[in-house]
Symmetry: C2
Amino acid sequence: MSARNKWLNRVRWDENGLVPVITQEVGSNDVLMFAWMNRDALARTAELGQAVYWSRSRKKLWHKGEESGHFQQVHEIRIDCDDDVVLLKVEQVGGLACHTGRHSCFFSVLKDGVWQAVDPVLKDPESIYK
Amino acid sequence: MSARNKWLNRVRWDENGLVPVITQEVGSNDVLMFAWMNRDALARTAELGQAVYWSRSRKKLWHKGEESGHFQQVHEIRIDCDDDVVLLKVEQVGGLACHTGRHSCFFSVLKDGVWQAVDPVLKDPESIYK
């Protein structure tokens, strides 16, 4: 490990070597998505200045936008008081973070005891992933 | 289970019966904190209109503010596209979510390869928890 990556030791990785990551849009402060990173993903994110997550389903690094072009330009990397959650502040290229073609993954709200999708699809997902 | 809690079945609880929860302030959109809920905690949160988490360290329900008076009034409960992360939009009583006496738990930012606490302590923690 290089000395310049000492900051990674402050993170309290969970039993799977992962840390939860909240991704928030600079400016609007909207929460765009939630994902996970391992040590490599967080190191790559800092080096590259673009969000690189760990895909738990595919068990590999996931450079957000690699298929869609919707990269996330990282403005800030924050950590919480317990050192076990990361907050990324990003500029979302294309304005779409969600694979459903919406701005944010958190588009469903609980109303009258039912989950209701309240935010619009801005782009047909089929045209995002060609 | 009562019929009016059917919405809880939509949540994809993890192997420990928990779901990650991001808590965001209404208005500023600041991310205040991150915690976990089990089914009971989420049901109680919806019923009470105040955030009730599951404390993984103390292994019990944690009604945020029960000691400090800094309750979180819930305005919205959202869920993400995978149904496995909850986003609460709250009004933070007292303006302080963090046990360090800060507005948000995410007060440290990575600068020049070092984590730096950049947000001020607004209230002495010893005067919060009497």
